[in-house]
């Protein structure tokens, strides 16, 4: 490939937006060179791949680690291809298979994604009755409830922690419970129920440590969307819903 054509194509890259990942770039190179993915000219592809990386660096695009990992894989395959194949090792697998398999799978799923994109789409091609309300949002929110804000949650937490006595009645060694274990307990509490109140979560908690662990567990669960924390509009009661 001459220098000028490379310039041209890299210019296109700027317009088309940068490749999202190393697989994208690899697919692009295979397509552009019109090569068979089962017989990839590894030296050519590696060379072009490296040129793209250099261009991306020159354009001040942060070349992520996964691009470099792929570069290393390519270089490794290239070097293995250079090794002479002994007669008795003829059975050995083509080193390029390491590249072909993920590439194949990626292409398959890329096609599947395109199929999805062309499907009849609800709220665009077809409409159902009262579909509008669910539009763009996740599972419908329980009636009369709104998402609780972080500050309201902290207020509620402070109310609970105030109730727990500061002074120990007596000094005993307490079995401490981890956030992870507490999450499992909360999942058990929620099992078979739609929701529980914020206060119910802290029932039977005697120490500040326990209250804090429970609160951290709750935040963790909300973060991973296992639960939703909602507040009743009228009563202000905070309830924890199954995500």
């Amino acid at each position: 490939m001459t220098e000028t054509t490379l310039q041209e194509t890299t210019y296109q890259v700027q317009i088309e937006d940068v490749f999202e990942g190393p697989m994208d770039l690899l697919v692009h190179l295979v397509q552009k060179n019109e090569v068979d993915i089962y017989d990839i000219p590894i030296a050519l592809i590696t060379e072009q791949y490296m040129q793209y990386l250099n261009v991306m660096k020159a354009m001040n695009i942060d070349v992520a680690g996964n691009f470099l990992l792929m570069a290393a894989t390519l270089a490794h395959i290239k070097s293995r291809m250079l090794l002479p194949v002994h007669e008795d090792e003829a059975e050995e697998e083509d080193p390029r298979m390491e590249l072909v398999r993920p590439l194949e799978e990626y292409l398959q799923l890329k096609c599947a994604a395109e199929d999805l994109a062309t499907r009849v789409r609800l709220d665009w091609d077809v409409f159902a009755r009262s579909a509008g309300e669910m539009d763009e949002s996740a599972a419908p929110e329980p009636e009369g409830f709104v998402k609780v804000s972080l500050f309201q949650l902290i207020d509620a937490f402070q109310r609970v922690i105030k109730r727990v006595s500061h002074e120990p009645f007596m000094n005993i060694t307490v079995d401490t419970i981890s956030v992870k274990a507490r999450i499992t307990e909360i999942v058990d509490l929620l099992e078979g129920k739609e929701s529980i109140t914020f206060e119910e979560l802290f029932e039977g908690h005697a120490t500040r440590g326990e209250v804090i662990v429970t609160f951290l567990a709750l935040l963790e669960m909300a973060k991973s969307q296992v639960v939703r924390i909602m507040q009743h509009i009228e009563s202000g009661v905070i309830r924890i819903f199954n995500g």
Binding site: G21, E114, L122, F127, A128, S224
Partner: protein, 180 residues
């Protein structure tokens, strides 16, 4: 029940989600699935024969009245629908989850070769995927699957209804397009 047809039709009319045969059974307090299915098939045929603006769509395990795609343009105008903003990254991730579920994040990222945290979060937020629990391996990663909303959104009867993955040899000329 001799007026089964108009009753079921009215249920379809008021339901805001795909109506399952089980749900219809529970409402009507009857046991005969076959009769219900027959009515549904009859209704579907009637809407087609009479060229009604809506049709009975078999979607997400149930039945739902939907406007025909040829009138989408007008419905869009009334509803002021925004074009579906599903990026290529989101579609690829969604396809991986749809075909490979139950699947964990690292598997998705391994396939795509890029970080998917943001995309997963967005798909969860839009209710297209859901968490199915945690995998019992170090780090206890979340397991993802598609939701019923996904089936509704992409007009799929169930997951078996997804087109089978194409063989790459079969693909031949029809390379996936770079620009989508």
């Amino acid at each position: 029940m001799d007026n089964l047809k108009p009753i079921i039709e009215s249920l379809l009319f008021v339901s805001d989600e795909p109506l399952t045969i089980d749900k219809i059974k529970a409402v009507l307090e009857v046991e005969d699935r076959k009769a219900i299915r027959e009515v549904l098939e009859n209704l579907a045929r009637e809407y087609d024969d009479q060229h009604r603006a809506f049709f009975l769509s078999e979607v997400a395990g149930g039945y739902q009245l939907r406007t025909r795609p040829e009138y989408g343009e007008w419905a869009r105008k009334l509803k002021q629908a925004k074009p579906p903003r599903v990026s290529r990254a989101a579609l690829e991730t969604l396809a991986i989850i749809a075909y490979k579920q139950p699947v964990i994040r690292s598997d998705i990222e391994h396939l795509r070769g890029v970080d998917c945290g943001g995309v997963l979060h967005m798909l969860l937020e839009r209710g297209l995927i859901r968490t199915l629990g945690r995998k019992d391996i170090p780090g206890r990663p979340l397991i993802y699957g598609t939701s019923r909303r996904f089936l509704e959104m992409f007009d799929l009867k169930d997951l078996n209804n997804l087109p089978t993955l194409k063989d790459i040899q079969e693909l031949g000329e029809s390379w996936p397009n770079d620009s989508t």
